[in-house]
């Protein structure tokens, strides 16, 4: 299943997204290579989250194609994109607060769970086995992030702190063992230390699972510096620079558009 390493895992070609007169993505070309961590940078409104929304099928691109593992996924429904192996987190937490931590994480595994009516209503023995397996899986994954969080498996998500909610959201995205994880500003609303801890945990989990690629949208430059191998900088929906962290920080266009002149 692992593609040949010189072939990109995800490739967006001439990707354009228009909202009426606004061009949110303008003929964007982005490649994500297998097993790499790619940083996606740019000022507010430069199209980073729009890119995520188009890739995950929430928006249908106006033109251009997206290829994932050699297969054209542009225009697929969000459900089909998830089935293909792409998961994401959201900038503003999208947990269902009235549900338990377990429910919230288990839903991320719906690719592996049997949603058949007969199975769910009448084969309770089989469901029980599937359920116990899932509980173990969720508990182990949560424990990798935080031992105390694993103890709150059947507490309501509403009672969690900000960092725990983030952790649960990331676990929801990780439990189905995706090929590509899209992280939308994991540091939003958290302190430096919390963000650092969270990123370490993600890297830690990543070593245990089959290695997957990550695209991370982030404004905290030290997170980008520490975690990413390559960065793409957007401005007004266009790619203005690409390269390692060291390369883009000295790029004149990037300094003008995003980092600011010193």
């Amino acid at each position: 299943m692992i593609p040949v390493s010189d072939e990109p895992l995800l490739r967006a070609e001439k990707l354009t997204m228009r909202f009426g007169g606004l061009v949110a993505l303008d003929a964007l070309d982005i490649e994500v290579r297998p097993r790499e961590i790619l940083g996606l940078l740019g000022p507010n409104g430069s199209g980073k989250t729009t890119f995520f929304n188009v890739v995950t099928g929430l928006y249908a691109a106006s033109s251009g194609t997206i290829t994932f593992e050699g297969r054209n996924i542009s225009g697929l429904s969000p459900q089909a994109v998830y089935q293909a192996g792409i998961t994401r987190t959201f900038q503003r937490s999208r947990l269902s607060l009235s549900l338990s931590v377990f429910d919230n994480v288990a839903v991320g595994n719906s690719r592996m769970l049997d949603h058949g009516i007969i199975h769910n209503l009448f084969c309770r023995k089989a469901l029980l086995a599937e359920y116990e397996r899932t509980v173990e899986q969720v508990r182990t994954l949560l424990a990798t992030f935080n031992a105390a969080l694993a103890g709150k498996l059947f507490h309501s998500a509403a009672g969690l702190s900000m960092i725990d909610r983030r952790r649960v959201e990331i676990c929801r995205a990780l439990i189905s063992e995706p090929r590509l994880l899209l992280l939308d500003e994991p540091s939003a609303g958290m302190t430096h230390d919390e963000t650092a801890e969270l990123m370490d945990d993600i890297m830690h989990v990543r070593e245990k699972l089959a290695p997957f690629s990550v695209v991370i949208i982030e404004h905290e430059m030290n997170v980008i510096q520490r975690t990413t191998e390559r960065c793409v900088v957007l401005n007004y929906g266009k790619k203005i620079a690409e390269g390692s962290y060291a390369e883009i920080t000295v790029n004149a266009d990037v300094r003008a558009a995003y980092l600011g002149q010193e």
């Binding site: 269902s96 009235s98 839903v107 009516i117 309770r124 116990e132």
Partner: protein, 379 residues
């Protein structure tokens, strides 16, 4: 221990309420209930009761069933209390169906009484004109309600939240007018329905059991109880499965649900069809119990009653519909002066719930997939 006490108190109260004959008695009962409630909450009894009830769920269910059987035995030859008890059980069954729609997947169905009516009318036509076995007819009533409900699926799927509710309101109004102008269905006069029979057992006949004479309504209470138990198990299983998780996700966040592979349309279709099926079956049994139905039984206002039961009981908690159905059906019957203003009462009830106890009498808790102690992974 606290469970046993609570159940006995509840049983005594419902016995007194069902048997109350004057309004003074009913008001006296209100006073007693209020005093008991205040004392219980002062002694922190309600808190521990809630915890125990969650832990011993099976015991609570069994106690409820036994309690209803005891009530049935106590009123063995009184028609009216038994009719009320049967109606409470069948309305509760219908509410269980609506609970899947409103409580789990988030479709507000303001046409509950219409689907109840479709079940009843299907039964009336099939039972008077065909020789189909009556159990099949009951099922046919449910299937018919589910099928007619499919007409509403397209608009319900295309709209979100309150707009879907408007579609169902339109349907409820339409359904009643349709019944009134339709002469083959009896027009405004309605239709008679023969009483329920199966395997040679005529539920319309009183029976003598162990030397004691039972009203024929006791048969219906028993039958309604069986139906209600089946519906309850079904709804609980929907909730406590991956389907239930998926439905809750659709209700709380459609975008997050679709990003994690959950088909919004599929969950809504399952919930809507299954819910209408239960409502239809309940309506069919209700028709057979009352022997007579008319368009006036299935108005938009009756749909509102069903929804207010759901709100009063606690949205999403199938156990809540039982006390709610009992209060909302029995009180107006016992307080004659309210009769004329019953809709005023329902309106007031809803406003008070929303003001003081927005989650209803028995709020929904955290989902427990397999609540029997031995396989609960929390232990």
């Amino acid at each position: 221990m606290p469970l046993g006490v609570a159940m006995l108190v509840l049983l005594a109260l419902s016995w007194a309420l069902l048997g109350a004959e004057t309004q003074t008695e009913v008001f006296g009962l209100f006073g007693v209930t209020a005093v008991i409630a205040v004392i219980a909450s002062r002694l922190k009894f309600t808190e521990s009761l809630g915890r125990v009830a969650v832990e011993h769920e099976r015991a609570v269910s069994i106690a409820c069933v036994v309690g209803i059987l005891i009530l049935m035995a106590l009123f063995h030859e009184d028609h009216f209390p038994l009719l009320l008890l049967g109606s409470v059980l069948l309305y509760a069954t219908a509410c269980l169906g609506l609970n899947i729609q409103f409580g789990y997947v988030g479709i507000v169905n303001f046409a509950g009484a219409s689907f109840f009516g479709i079940g009843a009318y299907t039964t009336a036509v099939l039972a008077s004109h065909t020789a189909m076995p009556h159990l099949l007819i009951l099922a046919a009533g449910g299937v018919m309600a589910a099928l007619v409900g499919c007409v509403l699926l397209l608009p319900v799927l295309r709209t979100r939240g309150h707009y879907g509710a408007l579609v169902t309101i339109a349907f409820a109004t339409l359904f009643r007018s349709f019944l009134e102008v339709n002469d083959t269905l009896g027009g405004p006069q309605g239709l008679k329905i023969p009483s329920l029979q199966f395997f040679g057992w005529d539920l319309g006949e009183g029976l003598i059991f162990g030397g004691v004479e039972f009203s024929f309504y006791a048969n219906y209470v028993f039958f309604a109880l069986l139906l209600c138990m089946a519906a309850y198990v079904c709804v609980r299983r929907v909730e406590r499965s991956w389907l239930g998780v998926a439905m809750d996700m659709v209700r709380t966040d459609e975008i997050a649900a679709s990003v994690f592979g959950i088909s919004i349309a599929r969950q809504k279709i399952i919930a809507f069809v299954l819910g209408n099926l239960l409502v239809g079956i309940a309506g069919a049994a209700y028709g057979m119990m009352t022997n007579y139905i008319a368009p006036n039984n299935f108005t938009f206002a009756d749909s509102l009653i069903l929804v207010s039961m759901l709100l009063l009981g606690g949205i999403g908690n199938p156990l809540g519909v039982f006390p709610a159905a009992a209060l909302i059906l029995i009180l107006p019957e016992k307080l004659q002066f309210i009769q004329e203003y019953r809709f005023l009462l329902y309106g007031t009830v809803i406003i008070f719930i929303l003001l003081f106890r927005a989650q209803g009498l028995l709020p929904r808790g955290i989902r427990r997939f397999f609540p029997c102690a031995e396989n609960d992974p929390r232990q």
